[in-house]
Amino acid sequence: MDEFKQDFLKWQEQIKEQIKKRPERKEEFQTSSSIPIERTYFPDKIDNAYIDSLGFPGEYPYTRGIRGTMYRGKYWTMRQYAGFGSAQETNERFRYLLDQGQTGLSVAFDLPTQIGYDSDDPMALGEVGKVGVAIDSLEDMEILFDQISLNQVSTSMTINAPAAVLLAMYIAVAEKQGVAKEDIRGTIQNDILKEYIARGTYIYPPKPSMRLITDIFAYCSDHVPSFNTISISGYHIREAGSTAVQELAFTMSNAVAYVEAALAAGLDIDSFAPRLAFFFNGHNEFFEEIAKFRAARRMWANIMKERFDAKNPKSWQLRFHTQVAGSTLTAQQPENNVVRVALQALAAVLGGTQSLHTNAKDEALSLPTEDSARIALRTQQIIAHETGVSDTVDPLGGSYYIETLTDQLEEEALKYMNQIDEMGGAVSAVEKQYMQREIHRAAYDAQKRLENKDDIVVGVNKFQVGEEQQPDLLKVDEAFVESQIERLQQIREHRDNEKVDYILTQLKTAAKGTDNLMYLIIEAVKQYATVGEICHALRDVYGEY
């Protein structure tokens, strides 16, 4: 301890100062037996190896967490992804969830919105309002956030190819509410690389897509400083069937590609890196998941400090959202999913997540009902308030198993990353279908293990019961599609169409050049140009992938 005694004392002092400013949840934490719970537990001897690989919580390399007090200070943000049907229905669900104690919003958009088609586009047939809310114009966005003050909530939006358009709409709604864009908080997913790899809602080819992303980085670092400009996502890579190591490696390689694109566009690393966020999957294998989150933090800190020479500690900190694994939910005996979700969520909390979505038990059958959505939220509230796991920082740090797994996951992921670097980076690996093939192989292996009963899924290949009654499912009212389309057509009639055409023409010209497109896109949405119209303008210039 001697060598690092000074560092340790200094760190302790810093934490004390922080707590004076922002107190922890309780003055003292203790167990049911009145045993005091310390903020963090350390090995008897703090040596070089400890400092290099783990460090103090809230300090480089952040293996033990990005905050010194973690959940003793504040619980993670409980953020349930929701959205279906019309903006009005989703607005009602949002307000219900906020009433129930949810602390952040997360918007699910329908597929036409995510791929840049208006609700009346022939390509949208059958899909309007199905997996999320349908947003065509600013008017829909105004309805979506009706009676929700945008300076009171943080909003995460699962939107990628048209991320610039939806962010522009969010900014415009805030302005109408009298909230300055400097004060809005939230996240846009904006991670196009994993769309090519695993999720499928891309529009344009990779190069222009990367340019749209760096335009957003630049715009937000100047004007919307509290918005996470991207959520670099391993979630969907894992859902597509990857292993934990692949999830980690491919996400990090994608992150490196975004950083390199932004640097190539002339941005300063510390101007945008603090707003990069991550999104991981909370899967079944309990300890491996915890190790994955810890390894991710250490890898990112290393990459930012050593590879990109970032100076601001905020650039080194990997902040992440977790959603538990939808693909592990079973249609058979759906009640069992509540238990799966609880265990997966617990791993995410023990791994130090900043925000969490817990799935509803019926999601293998359809979108969640209000009841099942409530149980999902309650699951994480129980972990937070009843189990005591939040009362000390990184409770599993120092476990032989966890630390070994953390090291090994990092090591294996680095091997993959080196391979991707050798292929010329993530963009070129994606174009060569490298990650796609690796994931597919892992997915097929998993399916075979399941069918050979090497892997057991309770209720699916063991402990089955006879065909069950299907529980009540959420039905999206199809009638709204007609009124959505009618409203859209009225907007097109009543807006200033000359102005809309003019801005869209300007946008096309700018898309061929190098000017930041965000300014024109904001102008366009304020004139009620639709998601489809703006995306089609860019399709005309960039083509489709």
Partner: protein
């Protein structure tokens, strides 16, 4: 028979193709030619590809909830293009009520998450074979319950009970020495009661009665072809007691399935070789 050609397609906009890719690979491993369309295919594009590739079967995968609109649209387009003979099945996150609706509209079968890939490939093989007229019908339920087997200490004592109180008389008594049993058949409607009595202590009926006492022993379904049913069940991962048909009490082929695989009931499959008296009774 010619290799089965399958088009796996993703109609609509959803990008989740893990299931489509896994099924494609599994069907290839099962010996079929599989073409995967990739994402975001309209019904028109799917049907065009199916006709160009001259496939026997189209498999549609959807996880976004658009199946009620898009799957029937594919069927309509097939009929319009005169390709209504291509079989269509589907898979994805599809609620039970929608499955019934879609199957009634002409989708051959919907497979939901958790279905073993072997069940899917076996089903497709059977469906195509039947469609090509190469095999008998295995996709339909067995014809009827042929008989209900009851394990008894003594055929004579039990037969007396049925005769005295229900006026059901024994039609025939036979011995099946290699199974160590003596059996009696009592006709009832278009079904029979089969009484089984152990010949010696090595008989399975002897150990059954020792363990559980007299009572219901098995259920027998009449099928067209025991061998083909066994082949199908085996590829679907069902545990068989008899992998090959054996001779039953009246010389017809029979086989037993393991109760571990059938949720607790010992099931027998039997085939009526002499079809002359097949259609008596029933509808």
């Amino acid at each position: 028979m010619d290799k089965i050609r399958v088009l796996i397609a993703k109609p609509g906009l959803d990008g989740h193709d893990r299931g489509a890719l896994v099924i494609s690979q599994a069907l290839r491993d099962a010996g079929m030619e599989v073409i995967y369309t990739g994402l975001r295919q309209s019904p028109k594009q799917i049907v065009r590809a199916a006709i160009q590739e001259d496939v026997d079967v189209i498999g549609l995968s959807s996880l976004s909830g658009a199946h009620n609109v898009l799957f029937p649209a594919v069927l309509n387009e097939l009929n319009e293009k005169g390709a209504g003979d291509i079989l269509v099945f589907g898979g994805g996150v599809i609620p039970l009520v929608d499955i019934k609706e879609l199957e009634s509209k002409g989708i051959l079968k919907i497979f939901t998450p958790g279905t073993p890939t072997k069940v899917v490939s076996s089903y497709i093989k059977q469906a195509v074979a039947e469609h090509r007229g190469e095999k008998m019908n295995l996709l339909h339920p067995p014809k009827k319950v042929d008989h209900i087997g009851i394990a008894v200490e003594s055929i004579e004592k039990t037969a007396a009970f049925y005769a005295n109180h229900f006026h059901i008389n024994v039609e025939k008594i036979a011995e099946v020495p290699d199974q160590g049993v003596r059996v009696a058949f009592l006709p009832l409607g278009n079904c029979k009661i089969e009484l089984l009595e152990a010949i010696d202590e090595s008989s399975s009926i002897h150990s059954f009665i020792k363990k559980r006492g007299e009572g219901l022993h098995h259920l027998a379904f009449e099928v067209d072809n025991v061998q083909q049913r066994l082949d199908q069940l085996k590829t679907e991962g069902i545990r068989l007691i008899d992998e090959q048909p054996k001779q039953g009490a009246n010389g017809n082929p029979i086989a037993f399935l393991h109760p571990k695989s059938t949720h607790g009931t010992l099931l027998e499959l039997c085939e009526e070789l002499d079809h002359t008296n097949n259609d008596k009774g029933g509808q």
